[in-house]
Symmetry: C2
Subunit: 368 residues, 2 copies
């Protein structure tokens, strides 16, 4: 730790009960952005609508000079250019990605960090080389247990200067669908999504999908770096180690019906039939059920599920609602094939991770 850093790079903290969102949180919200919920209409989120969360700055990498290094406990360390990667057989996977901090801003007390409401999600088709294929070419040592991925983005965080770096178990890293992706929705990666290369770990929260990837190191001992051991832990107190944040918890979102008010974003609908739609996903198992409430959770009824978008992508749902004049709160709750469902009361942890509170949308139905 740099001894001069403490006054520019402070420990994490909780907001006071009377404290609104501050300028530091606002600066993060102005840079990083959620997916406007009307974009739930798309199977595949258009570029610029998919959420982004960038820890430091978006680096600029010259593709002619950029190389990916494969190092550590491998028989044949080597470097790959973008053309080398494109020469491998390509695979495309549709993946719903969500920020581990999604929903953080409504926790009480509120962890001070990127202040997400519920929009930190998106679904893209990622194209690249299966990581397992590249690791096989490198010849992973029988003693190897983990793989460490390093990005080209650098900054400080709670007093620690670092390149963004994440470890992943070799078992997870070797899954067929884990990709070294050089394309998003059929085009080269945009700068903010990791150009020229990012890791894709379907089913996991966004922190695992290392952007601007420049090095892959195979190691024997468990990785103890900042992003695995300090950040991205589910803990109640600052002084406990907690549990690692891994796969995306089951969640459904509602495409807000009707029209919005500019400032309050309150939805306005007219009396009569309203077809509600939305999406649901889980990193643990396919979504098998979505329940909808039009009375803020007093009663629930099953939505119709749409076609599957594949094992790692969100699934559409529809629900017929008959709106009558008055104020209503719509709610959606998904259940996955492992029996996981969403809480109706807020679960809390100190850094605001893996939140999947039931989504609620207040609606004003105005007389004709």
């Amino acid at each position: 730790m740099n001894t001069e850093l403490p006054d520019v790079s402070l420990p994490s903290r909780l907001a006071a009960s009377t404290e609104g969102i501050g300028f530091e949180e606002l600066a993060l919200a102005a840079r990083n952005h959620g997916m406007p919920l009307e974009a739930l209409r798309y199977d595949r989120t258009p570029i610029g609508l998919h959420y982004t969360l960038i820890h430091y700055d978006i680096p600029y990498l010259d593709p002619r000079e950029w190389r990916l290094s494969i190092t550590g406990r491998v028989a044949h360390p080597f470097r790959l250019s973008l053309d080398d990667l494109r020469a491998y057989p390509a695979r495309t996977v549709r993946v719903t990605m969500e920020c581990a901090g999604n929903g953080r801003a409504r926790l009480r007390p509120r962890p001070v960090s990127q202040p997400w409401l519920v929009e930190a999600v998106g679904t893209a088709e990622w194209t690249g080389v299966p990581l397992a294929r590249v690791l096989a070419d490198a010849g992973v040592s029988p003693q190897a247990r983990e793989v460490v991925f390093t990005g080209a983005d650098r900054g400080t965080e709670r007093g620690v200067e670092q390149d963004y770096r994440r470890g992943l178990s070799l078992d997870e890293a070797a899954r067929d669908e884990v990709l070294l992706a050089y394309a998003m929705n059929g085009a080269e990666l945009p700068p903010q999504h990791g150009y020229p290369l990012r890791l894709i770990v379907p089913g996991w929260y966004g922190m695992a999908h290392v952007k601007w990837l420049r090095e892959i190191e195979v190691i024997e001992d468990p990785f103890t770096g900042y992003q695995n051991m300090v950040a991205y832990r589910d803990r109640q107190r600052a002084d406990e180690t907690g549990e690692p944040v891994t796969r995306i918890a089951v969640r459904a979102l509602i495409l807000p019906p009707g029209i919005p008010d500019f400032m309050s974003r309150t939805r306005i609908v007219r009396p009569g039939p309203v077809t509600l739609t939305g999406r649901a996903w889980s990193g643990a198992a396919p979504v098998v059920r979505v329940d909808i409430s039009a009375d803020d959770g007093d009663t629930w009824a099953a939505a119709r599920l749409g076609a599957s978008g594949g094992p790692w992508a969100w699934r559409g749902w529809t629900f017929d609602w008959h709106a009558v004049p008055g104020r209503h709160v719509l709610a959606a709750r998904a259940t996955d094939g492992d029996g996981n469902t969403q809480p109706v009361e807020q679960r809390w942890n100190r850094d605001g991770f893996a939140n999947n509170l039931v989504h609620r949308v207040p609606v004003a139905c105005l007389g004709e």
Copy 2:
């Protein structure tokens, strides 16, 4: 005005002196986003990094069904499909666009609305048909004075349900470089930038560049719609009419040097030479000078200007700074060919428009 709307669509207001950013402002900040300042490196902002400000929802328009209507005081009212528009000779213009509310969040008292810091800007190459050509085909009446542009986005604002609609004088509308744009940076418009068609009015703040354009009406009397007469006025008190917000005020931004802290976004640099870069623009006249201060405005020196990006686009600048250990505040101030320059003290108006306060970037230079 709908009499049931007041409780969901309230009048504008100012935040109390102790009031942090609230959930309504945060909901806007999560949807709309600024341009991360490191994207100042690009002459042309990549898709997804250009700022967006969407009053209501992003509508989905089926390009096979969509038509643009030209109506009102014209000899030959007609409708155009996307193919019809593409059949006209195309023109491409590079345009720096800025939200009229940029900088609003730091005003005291703070107008409660989209809480922009300084990032609500971007530069794109827009391709389309000069509006003057389409108006000529329609045969504008000699009595015509204004043109009204209607988008497909609908919502409520301060109690008024409306389609987004803006009027523009016929003189402004007939300028050669005013476009009906169907492409951005060489590709079809993204949904969030107005697919399939938007108006581009180079030099004006973003509110004039109507997205999801569906109707152009030529009128004789001055347009008195909400977005011209209620919103987008420079006023001191809520009860005065104020002046219309029109062209972009001169402004320079600094590409933040060094590396950031995640939470505070404070910049960290090492001692020694640092080349500062950034961009400057004005909607009134070309930028002719940029001055830089490394001591929070006590002393200023001229930056070197880069090549012009054309009459409607930002211009790069560079400045050699020698960083010494300690805390510094960098500042940039641009001047345009009409002699307009930026204030060093905050100018205030009730809705936070046309702000162009000098940009300041705090930097910590740490010992080697």
